[in-house]
């Protein structure tokens, strides 16, 4: 893998290709690469998943700890999304204090998950006002071949679906040697994901490879879920410098329900 940035000529060629609806791997502009999910990345995690979209790979783990509720919400547990852009995933990622991308990724995933309603924080109370469960989702990209945000969110949702609540001992601490029989209470039919649209010139595409992503000039990440048959947008973040037009956004609103259903359908077989 190269650390070399995108050249002007490749960017121009990709622009021409996208205008003609072509991509190097033969996909359509709105097609996802094959997605694979596997579980049990770590038997020490309360839940974990590994997601591959093409060669992009992200692993996500869930840990649950006992903590205090926030003072203004004594009847709710907490959710935190964290992790690291591991330098192993790309020649672009470096060790050291997190750069913007590293900070942004968990925050995007957090908002998509939190507002989807998949997790009811009220069900995480152990003793009201004193002790609650804190669900911590940690995201680790292992190989960056583009579209890490979408892969990470699918991973977070998948890991939550497999999460088991640890067993507490008499003193109120966690006994890791007792096998848990209680799954985390998850709304199964809500499957939050992020669909990120990328733009180069006038073309809008989904699921870019790293080569394509580096040529793109703008992106919008939409957090989406489905409530009782109704699609909901739970979060949105536009990134990079180019602007999206009104008609771009309206097209996305038309596309999102179809794409969400298409991807959800493909992922069903993993659960």
């Amino acid at each position: 893998m190269s650390a070399m940035e995108c050249s002007n000529m490749t960017k121009e060629t990709l622009d021409r290709m996208f205008t003609e609806g072509k991509r190097f791997d033969g996909r359509g502009l709105l097609d996802y690469r094959p997605i694979e999910i596997s579980f049990d990345v770590s038997n020490k995690a309360e839940g974990s998943a590994r997601v591959k979209i093409g060669k992009t790979e992200v692993i996500v783990g869930v840990k649950m700890v006992v903590g205090e509720p926030y003072p203004d919400s004594p009847d709710k547990g907490n959710l935190t999304v964290s992790g690291d852009l591991l330098p192993m995933a790309s020649p672009r990622f470096e060790s050291g204090p997190p750069k913007f991308n590293a900070i942004e990724l968990p925050r995007l995933v957090d908002r998509a998950i939190r507002h989807s309603g998949i997790l009811d924080l009220k069900e995480l109370v152990i003793t009201s006002g004193e002790k609650v469960w804190i669900v911590i989702i940690d995201i680790y990209p292992i190989n960056d071949d583009g579209n890490i945000i979408d892969a990470a969110t699918i991973g977070a949702t998948a890991a939550l679906r497999k999460t088991m609540i640890p067993v507490l001992d008499e003193k109120g601490g966690i006994d890791y040697h007792k096998k848990s029989k209680t799954p985390l209470s998850i709304a199964k039919d809500i499957f939050p994901m992020i669909i990120t649209f990328f733009k180069l010139g006038d073309s809008v595409l989904l699921d870019p490879t790293r080569e394509e992503q580096e040529a793109c000039e703008a992106r919008i990440a939409w957090g989406i879920s489905k409530w009782e048959g109704q699609h909901m947008i739970n979060s949105c973040q536009k990134g990079e410098e180019l602007a999206f037009t009104r008609s771009d956004v309206e097209s996305m609103m038309d596309l999102i329900p179809k794409k969400f259903d298409e991807v959800s359908e493909k992922l069903k077989k993993f659960f």
């Binding site: 990345v41 330098p87 911590i136 190989n143 890791y176």
Partner: protein, 229 residues
């Protein structure tokens, strides 16, 4: 004088005999972006390593005009252990990064790459004793996979005492992690925690040698399989 070692069919809680190692698994090329990468597992302990380099070293004042530099970063993923580990380096991970570097350096000759760095990233996905040894085995494979000039592979195993018996590849807290250059009798990592008689140390090294022979075969197979599809 009692003998403190018995090479009998004594079985440990896990069901293994004293010299039986956990099942090993190794695969190369697990991180396509890296110049070289590998996964190595001892039973439930799983390590992955990725190598980038030789590549430019910043900041410039860290460069060595006489040779390339090996830089290892080892860490546990937060959910690899029961008590969640906060992302970010800890003192333990910094120590292990350094001993891993020392374990690998003797087989590398980086003089033909002055002013560069070879970055080795090692992460533990699932920790169940022997994490640093799994890490060294994965890193050694990843360096080879990256085509870095290497005299030999480095193999690492933890040995120690369980009650009065000498054991190989401990289930519980590691007593004596060792790493050696595969085909020579040179040890590149020796660490110890516990109580052990000097005479017993010699025997332990013998056990380690045998274990490392098995590890070398696993590593060799992983490298060859990567190419002969």
């Amino acid at each position: 004088m009692q003998k403190t070692h018995k090479m009998t069919n004594f079985k440990r809680p896990s069901g293994r005999t004293l010299t039986e190692m956990r099942k090993m698994y190794a695969k190369v090329g697990v991180v396509p972006n890296a110049d070289g990468s590998a996964m190595f597992a001892f039973g439930d302990t799983v390590a992955i390593a990725a190598v980038y380099g030789p590549r430019q070293l910043h900041p410039q004042h860290m460069q060595d005009p006489g040779t390339g530099i090996l830089r290892v970063n080892y860490d546990l993923l937060s959910f690899s252990v029961y008590e969640r580990k906060k992302p970010g380096p800890s003192r333990r991970s910094q120590e292990i990064s350094k001993v891993t570097e020392w374990a690998l350096s003797p087989v590398l000759d980086l003089k033909e790459f002055p002013n560069t760095v070879i970055d080795v990233q090692v992460y533990i996905l699932q920790a169940d004793a022997g994490t640093r040894t799994a890490g060294i085995n994965a890193a050694s494979l990843a360096l080879a996979h990256a085509g870095v000039p290497m005299k030999d592979l480095v193999c690492s195993i933890s040995v120690g005492k369980l009650d009065k018996n000498l054991v190989v590849d401990l289930d519980k807290a590691t007593d004596f992690p060792i790493a050696k250059i595969a085909s020579t009798n040179e040890y590149t990592l020796l660490q110890l925690d516990g109580k052990i008689q000097p005479g017993v140390v010699k025997e332990i090294l013998g056990l380690a040698d045998k274990a490392c022979e098995e590890i070398y075969e696993v590593q060799k197979k992983a490298l060859k399989e990567a190419i002969e599809q």
